[in-house]
């Protein structure tokens, strides 16, 4: 067998057996064969968005080429076909998250819309002046701003769980924040800026002891580890399809049925009603109550294909393999003088944020790009995190199961080149 591109670097990833046939997996992702600036693409910007396997691309193509129709309203063949596929994906998501019922799965545009939906529907119905919502110091802006908007609207207050210098939440402080005024806790499962895996099981338990519901921002967790919403017992869980190897513009909000039933609709329009007269409108049952208008049907069906694909690989294997890549990358980058890793939590997933002494992350990004290495440089939509660590920005490499130790070596060489340019 010829040594295919994408095999594990011999000097790397020795820590465990290699749980995935990465060379074969890479064949499924056409974009990974690309060159940029004359160099093989090394795609380390998976936390921003992931690449799509051919099967997802084909599914979108097949849908538009042979099945396209509106759903829940046609009595013709294509509409029935599209409706069946759309609803079958809801079942897939239910199994993927181990939700107890498929009506607890609401299709939204992405994590951002999922959180806004809860803030505007649940929040506006149940929050009063003086109530509090608890978030954490490492949230993405999309889990900060919707709550600030709600606070503004109802006179509620935002409380923030602090973290230590490794990027781990201070749970004692968290416990102290919970009180009679706390109406909701909303935290990231995995931090996109630091990679920290938060102990959300414990966070949920503490909140539930006081009957406080918890929303989990799963944008960075769903693509990297098995999520079981019943085991976690979270009240809401949001994630984005595009970070899970699916299309952009589609995401999922899981909500416990009793919450969703008690919540008013988020938007009004077609599909979310059962009867409309000019005097009164009767809302549809859940989840349709929250899916106003023609949804992103192709996106939903494409997401279904993505879920099938990752489930086929197995998220436990994905988590184990990515853990090896992260450990290898951490060790290799740590050998570079002047490089500081931001986010050193004991529990981390797939994100490696770093700064180089004397070089702005944006300049790192540009030099790396010319080496074919795609990373993100900036504040990662988590400006409070940057402020916490006293840096204007970081460079962030984020991994997926199709990345390899060899690619990490390319990254490390490219970072050394940065030092040469700015030496």
């Amino acid at each position: 067998m010829k040594p295919a591109q994408g095999v594990i670097a011999p000097q790397g990833l020795r820590t465990g057996r290699t749980v995935l046939d990465v060379a074969r997996i890479r064949e499924d992702f056409p974009i990974l064969k690309q060159q940029v600036h004359g160099k093989p693409l090394v795609y380390f910007d998976n936390a921003a968005t992931s690449q799509k396997p051919q099967v997802v691309i084909d599914t979108l193509n097949r849908y538009y080429a042979t099945e396209n129709a509106n759903i829940h309203r046609g009595i013709h063949f294509l509409s029935e076909l599209a409706t069946a596929e759309y609803e079958e994906t809801r079942n897939k998501v239910k199994r993927f998250l181990n939700a107890s019922e498929s009506r607890e799965i609401v299709f939204v545009r992405g994590t951002t819309e999922g959180i806004n939906l809860v803030a505007q529907s649940y929040g506006r119905r149940f929050f009063k002046e003086g109530d509090e919502v608890v978030i954490s110091a490492m949230e993405h802006h999309s889990n900060i701003v919707p709550w600030q908007m709600l606070c503004e609207q109802v006179g509620a207050r935002l409380r923030v769980i602090p973290m230590n210098h490794d990027g781990e939440l201070l749970l004692d402080e968290y416990e102290r924040l919970l009180g009679a005024r706390t109406k909701l806790v909303s935290v990231a499962h995995v931090s996109n800026a630091l990679g920290t895996i938060n102990p959300i099981g414990r966070i949920i338990e503490s909140a539930h002891r006081r009957n406080i519901p918890v929303l989990v921002d799963g944008a960075q967790a769903a693509p990297h580890m098995k999520v079981d919403v019943q085991e976690l017992d979270c009240d809401f869980y949001a994630f984005s399809g595009h970070k899970l190897f699916g299309p952009t513009g589609i995401g999922v909000l899981y909500g416990k049925a009793r919450h969703l039933e008690a919540m008013p609709p988020y938007q009004g329009g077609g599909d979310m009603i059962s009867l409309v007269t000019f005097e009164k409108t009767h809302y549809n049952i859940i989840p349709y109550k929250f899916e106003a208008g023609t949804p992103h049907i192709a996106g939903v069906i494409g997401l279904g294909a993505a879920i099938d694909y990752v489930s086929g690989i197995g998220l436990d294997a994905v988590a184990a393999y990515e853990g090896e890549v992260l450990a290898y990358a951490t060790a290799q980058l740590s050998t570079i003088q002047g490089l500081r890793i931001i986010g050193r939590a004991k529990e981390k997933a797939s994100v490696l944020s770093f700064v180089l002494e004397g070089v702005h992350p944006h300049d790192i990004g540009t030099v790396l790009d010319r080496e074919g290495v795609a990373i993100r440089a900036g504040h990662h939509c988590a400006m409070p995190v940057m402020q916490r660590f006293g840096v204007p920005a970081t460079a962030r490499a984020s991994f997926a199961f199709y990345n390899t130790g060899e690619e990490v070596d390319v990254l490390v060489r490219a970072v050394r080149k940065v030092l040469k340019v700015f030496g």
């Binding site: 300049d363 540009t366 010319r370 204007p392 920005a393 340019v421």
Partner: protein, 150 residues
Amino acid sequence: MSELSELYQEVILDHNKSPRNFHRLADANRRAEGYNPLCGDQITVYVKVEDDVIKEISFEGSGCAISKASASMMTDSLKGRTTAEAEALFDRVHKMLKGEVNPGDDSHDLGKLAVLSGVCHFPARVKCASLSWHTLRTALKREKEVASTE
């Protein structure tokens, strides 16, 4: 010369390492903050204008090499110029950054600023290089306090 070494020329790296006029200006009578939300670059430009002439100009802030060097060179090249000259130079710099002028063509009178012409090969970096200029323009016009490249 590769595009990368054209971007990070010696002069630029030098201005990045030791930016000129990099301090606040106590007696400035124009001031504006600029901010590039894409990468978190932040800059404050201070100007002392008398009779439409830029007597003093300085800046503060944090940013990448390109934005810092560009701001540093901007302050260097504007001291003693009229605000109208500054405005005209802004237009020429902007054209250069977008790759619309030939830096070898003297008629554009870009002077030392021509070393920034390599930026045009890096569309994502044009905003870094133009941030200080946008901020200056805001300061001179005092339209509003915060300039943004967005």
